[in-house]
Structure formats: C-alpha cells, structure tokens
Symmetry: C2
Subunit: 326 residues, 2 copies
Amino acid sequence: MDKIRIGIAGYGNLGKGVELAVRQNDDMELCGVFTRRKPDTVKTVTGCAVYGMDNVAEHSDKIDVMIICGGSATDLPVQTPQLAEKFNVIDSFDTHARIPEHFANVDKSAKDSGHLAIISLGWDPGLFSLNRLYAESILPDGKTYTFWGKGVSQGHSDAIRRVEGVKKGIQYTVPVDEAMDAVRSGSMPELTTRQKHIRECWIVPEENADLQKIEQAIKSMKNYFDEYDTTVNFISDEEFDAVHNKMPHGGFVMRSGITGDDTHQMIEYSLKLDSNPEFTASVLICYARALYRMRKEGVTGCKTAFDIAPAYLSRLSPEELRAKML
Amino acid sequence: MDKIRIGIAGYGNLGKGVELAVRQNDDMELCGVFTRRKPDTVKTVTGCAVYGMDNVAEHSDKIDVMIICGGSATDLPVQTPQLAEKFNVIDSFDTHARIPEHFANVDKSAKDSGHLAIISLGWDPGLFSLNRLYAESILPDGKTYTFWGKGVSQGHSDAIRRVEGVKKGIQYTVPVDEAMDAVRSGSMPELTTRQKHIRECWIVPEENADLQKIEQAIKSMKNYFDEYDTTVNFISDEEFDAVHNKMPHGGFVMRSGITGDDTHQMIEYSLKLDSNPEFTASVLICYARALYRMRKEGVTGCKTAFDIAPAYLSRLSPEELRAKML
C-alpha cells in the first residue's frame, strides 16, 4: 500500500508534535519539514529533511498532505490559502471569530487549484466543536458549557511575560470544580466568567523587582485577568524550570438537556493532556488520513471537522469498524 | 420548509421516546405509529394516529423516515430489512456480534429498493462507538475502556424476574470507581470483568419465598451474574414502585494513550441519563434528519453512525455551524 506522504510547514512545538505523530502511524511517511529559517540551522527530532519555505512549490508532487503548523494570528491567514494553491492542506486555525473569513479564503484557493483543505482542527476548535455539535443536535433543549484546563494558556503566559519585572512567567487556566458540579447537577446555572475559571500565575521576578507592583499589574490587566480571580505566585528560577516546563492542557464540554416532560440528560466530554501540542498534532494527523481518502474520491475545496464522516479517520476498513468498534 | 415526515414502527418505551423527541424538533412531524397490536387499543401520548403494521406499505409515500423501535433479539433482524423495501429506515440494533450480518441484510434490501437505512444507532452502539473510533484514530497507541452505568440493564432485570420466588425485580449495573480512577491515572491497567462493574439487584419476593435461595440462584446465574460481585436487596412492593420506576443509564468511554516519547493523553466521554429510552430516541431522531438530507443527495443502502458527517445532524446550516459552533 502506498503511504500517505506528509509535509510539515513550520517547525515549532506543533510541527515537532506532527513529526512525532507521523511515527505512530505507519500508513504515513514524513517527506519534509519546510521552514522560514535557514534550513541548515533546523535539526529535526527524527532526522527528517528540512527545506526552505521559499522552495516549497517544488515539492508539490511529492507531498499528499501539507500540515501547516504556523500561528493563527498572522501565519495561517496568509499561509493556508497560499499553500492550498499547490497542496492539499490542513491547519489548526483557532481564532474563532475569524473562521468564516478564513474558510472562504481557503475554499476559494483550494477549489480554484483542485485541492482539498481541512481547517481549524485540533481540540478547540476541533474535538470540542464536534462534541458541541453532536450534543446540541441530540438534545435541542438544553445548555452547553465549555471549561478549559487545567492547562497553560499561551496567550496569557505571553501577557504576563510582558509585565515589567517579570523574568519568566507561565499562566494556568483552572476550571472551578463547584461550577462544573453545578452544571452536572442539571440545574443549568448561568455562570459568569469569574465563576467558571481561575487564573494561576507562576513568576520568576527580575532581581530587586517590586513584587507587589507585578501582582497588581497582572491582576488588573484588561481582557486577560481583570474579569477573573487570579493568583500570582513568585518562585525561583530553579523551581520554574523543574516544574513548569511542560504544556499540559485539557477541558470539558458539557451538555445539560431535557427530554420528554422534564427528564434530565447529561453528556460530558473531557480531555486531560500532558502535552497540548503533541495531542493537537495527533488530531491533525488523523484528519490527514481522512483528507487523503476524500481527495481520492474527488473532493476539493475547504472542509472542517463537521464535514468529515468519522470512518475516514480510522485505519480500519468499514467492515472492520462495524465488526469491532460499533 | 417541508417538515421531515416521521413514522414509528413499534410502540413501546423507545417508540414513546421517539414520539416525545419529535415534539422537540419542529423541522419534523409525526405521521403515524404502526403497531402489531390492534390499533384501537393503543393510545399515543400526543394523540398521533395509530395504524396496523399489516397496512404499513400503504403509507410508503407519506413517510420520509420510518424509525423502527422493536427489540434486537427477534424484531429488528426481520423488520428492518423488510421495512427497508418500502421506507427509509432507522433502527437501534444492538446485538454487537450480529451487526455485520444485519448490515448486509439491510444493505441489500435498501439498495435493491432505492432506500437509505441507518442501523445500530443510540448510545452503545452509537455515541460510544463514535467516541471509540475518534479516540483510537487520534491516539493509535493506547487502550480503550468502556464502563456502563449506573443504570438499569433490561436483560439482567428480565433474568432475575425469571427466578422462582421473585415477584418484582430490577438490576443496576454499577461501574467501580477505583477501576475508573486507575484508568484515569494513565497506568493502563488490565481489568477483569469483576473489577470493572458490580451488579445490584432489588427484589420484591413472593409471599413466603425462600430469600436465601433467591439470592443464591441470582448470584450463581451463568453468563449473567457469576462473573460479578452481586448484591441482592429485598424490599417492599411500595418501595419498589416508588424508587425503582425509572430507566436511568449511562456510562463512560475512556481512551488512555501515549504520544511523543512517553506523554500521557486521556480522552473521556460520559453520559448520565435519567431515561435511557428517551435519550436513545433523541439520538435516533437527529440521525433521521441526517438520513433525510443524505437521501435527497441520492444516497442509498445501509449506513452506520461512522458514515455520517456530523454536520448532517444539526439544524444549523454549514455557515451557521462554522460561525457559531466551531
């Protein structure tokens, strides 16, 4: 059987995760990492070849699915439509408000060039979105709740690192147990931002920094911390490096619904991830398999997880799936 | 917009659940209940018309989707292929070992007559199957665990009611917390049948029945109880009717997996259902919407939940889904 030939565009944490995930799926092979850096300065974990992004078009007939691992703020809005001119592409675009616009751009590019793209994959957007859709379709009368964490928020960690006097910093989003239990009880509570999550910061201060001032600056930061109960903890360089060197994350999607006259029904989906980028990469990789199969059936344009029949994701045949997994 | 015209074949707990679920989805209307009993002896909850099953063929152009609510042991293997000759059909066939055979029979019947069928819907098989598929596709290296309960097992309740001296009886399957916590820890334990679930029986004995003999007969029953730790509780008629008059159920699908070098990742899906038949009916109904749309696109033959792209389930348009739910 021909292996699915995978390319990686952008080699940060997510790109490395994809590299490792390909290794776990022997119906795939990694055919190249593409970087905007000087290729000879990039060393891959598995020894995969590295090429300059400028020459990516030369590889268009050697790669079945290009997995684009750039950031959502500035990389993906440009890269995904551009690369979709030459490749079938997958991305993890996660700026929820801009998804319709991104979808339209990628769809046009992919349709015009006869490629297939699947965007906004990962766990939120991605698996959490799927669970919201399934749960709301099954229980039309009810309320959906999403909780995130405990996990590292990259955006909030970046924000605290910009505060004066902060040498190193990391922020964990922590869902509030009492709020989750209230949802599980079926009472369908209205929950404020503050009631749902707390924010936990771990900081290594610069020498002689004003700790009170740092704490105040963080806790009052608009859009990031002011609507939350936030804790700020100061620790040593050594403790920071030893304890806070991972990127765990996760969360919960809950649907509390009513059927019949007043019968309560509860659906809950949760993830507990020791590495957010490695897990996200694993989602991208299994959708690369779906993309490859759907493209062979002639499908082009842009799709999301909502459009992909689950069977396309599995290595098992439809017969095996029905016999073993149904 | 034309409403989706739903028929119900078989009017027990599941059929009633479907009747109530249609009421929650105003893109659908219930066009008839079909029964093997004398139609004038059956009174529906919402006042829907009741017809004899013998005359069902006369309704073939008045119903878009027939939801077959018979039992898996003897009804569905016959009814689903038969009704698929005249209707698009949905069933909840749940005898896991016989799914391939049932699929083949329904597929032939539906293809020959130009209809579409979706079988084995509900939550297990159904939503639990979907979660097994998604989770195993994303995390190929790992172990999947399914726990059921706490909930009423119909088969086990029937079995204890056949024991001599038992007037009324109900059996709850209860997942063992310690086993679930061991799975969540990431240790990927090997769990025996006995370690995963306990079985809890509530019995109203006949007058002067030998309680010890009843308990012994239940606990040693082959295939049903002998591999489990079972508790047998004797209660009064009044308590039985007051406390054990519902059909709650639920359960957990967990995937414990490894990515990268040795990074643990955990996916968990759970249901807590106050009424098993009403929830199952809600699943069937939202797949009726998917069936209706796919049939309009020309699809025929037999499908399962694995073959249905999630977007087909939702009342929202693809644009709305991307904007609001992704």
